[in-house]
């Protein structure tokens, strides 16, 4: 897999650390309650197909990216900076 980093260009998957579903961008407030925190930390849609996830360009520019990827074909459709992505 090669991930197109908006800053560095297309790079080998090995340069990136995988965080998981992009749900991590949507952190609930401290008093949002048990269900909201359960959904945020643990529950996952875990789709077989297109998904948005967080990858960190550890071996490159150090940016957090939202990568759109297919979990069945491993095809990568695009990547954007997490700070600019819609949650």
């Amino acid at each position: 897999m090669r991930i197109p980093c908006p800053i560095c260009g297309e790079r080998d998957r090995r340069e990136f650390y995988y965080k998981g579903a992009a749900v991590a961008l949507d952190r609930p407030g401290p008093d949002a309650g048990e269900a909201a925190w359960d959904a945020y930390v643990y529950l996952r849609e875990n789709p077989a197909g297109r998904t948005r996830e967080l990858w960190y360009h550890e071996g490159g520019c150090g940016a957090w990216l939202v990568v759109t990827r297919d979990t069945v074909s491993h095809e990568i459709f695009g990547a954007e900076l997490a700070g600019e992505a819609d949650v």
């Binding site: 995988y18 998981g20 579903a21 643990y42 996952r44 077989a48 979990t71």
Partner: protein, 417 residues
Amino acid sequence: MRFSGLRVLWEGLTGNRGWEPHWRDPAPKSEYDVVIIGGGGHGLSTAYYLAREHGITNVAVLEKGYLGGGNVGRNTTIVRANYGLPGNSEFYSHSLKLWEGLEQELNYNVMMSQRGVLNLFHSDGQRDAFARRGNAMVNQGDDAILLDREGVRRLVPYLDFDNARFPVHGGLFHPRGGTARHDAVAWGYARGADRRGVDLIQNCEVTGIDIENGRVRGVQTTRGAIRAGKVGIVVAGRSSQVAAMAGMRLPIESHVLQAFVTEGLKPVIDHVVTFGMGHFYISQSDKGGLVFGGDIDMYASYAARGNLPAVEHVMEAGMTLMPMIGKARVLRSWGGIMDMSPDGSPIIDRTDVEGLYLNCGWNYGGFKAVPASGHCFAHLMATDRYHEAATGFRLDRFRTGYGIIDEEGTGAQHNLH
């Protein structure tokens, strides 16, 4: 048909004409007392013990592909009871005891081979952790021997003991651990369940779960609707999709784990050897192939194949530990879809839907669990009580934070196991 040495001899002398199919190929009935979704190791063993222990024989196992085509036929066959935490310890201990009687129980040769599992350590800290784990295993009634460097050398002289990065300081040896023939385990349970009246229905994908007033009524499948009093979801890597049919989101992420086998060689590796620091483990099959693997590819995946970085990583670790395997040629590699849970431990529980039960979260270690998982899940489905060996595998432990079973001690988070 009973298997015996005499029978093998007789069939060999008479042209092998007397063997029969090991199970029927029935059409699905319109209604069952219990429907099990998923014909992997855990689904088949659940059906077997429902019939065997609880006399519930009006049961169907619905499998979307063929029996044993999932992870149960893709794993590296390691069986062990070397866990350190309550919740896991008693469960895997129970499983290993079931393994030890399995061939007689099933009248089926699952090629159970207690060749011993050796976990290597490379630092003082790791040795302390292994000593603690070994004590936990002994307390549980299982066996563990802490070996120093010379002790390890006597067992496996072929390691690179003086590796600059990971010198071998010793190992934790678990003599009762070993390997079993994975397909035969699926087939043995399938045959045992079938003989007790369970319908094993292949090429039958569950596409929906029918729920009325909070109670499960049956399932929709590619071979028609089937009513059921109780339904068990036992679909490993596909757990999230099937649970979604009942409106549930699970604390599960699916990841690919790869494995590899070389051409057949003369006996050279007599045990299961694990090199945790390098993410590598190996054993030798009875056919002679070196069977080895490492860690998951580390990103969510439903592709039953992996990517090259993990392949290289595993090969490098293997060469680091035992340079002698460098000349063996790799024949095949493959992948299976693992149901990864946040704390690395499984779920055997009820759901909020009455009559709907869930068995998942086996991560990369569910093969050794096949007997106990089926045994305990059947107990839960039949009696609505947790089996004493599986009281810890609650679904709500993540929401409540109570009873997390984080064996690796890395924290209960999706990308850490």
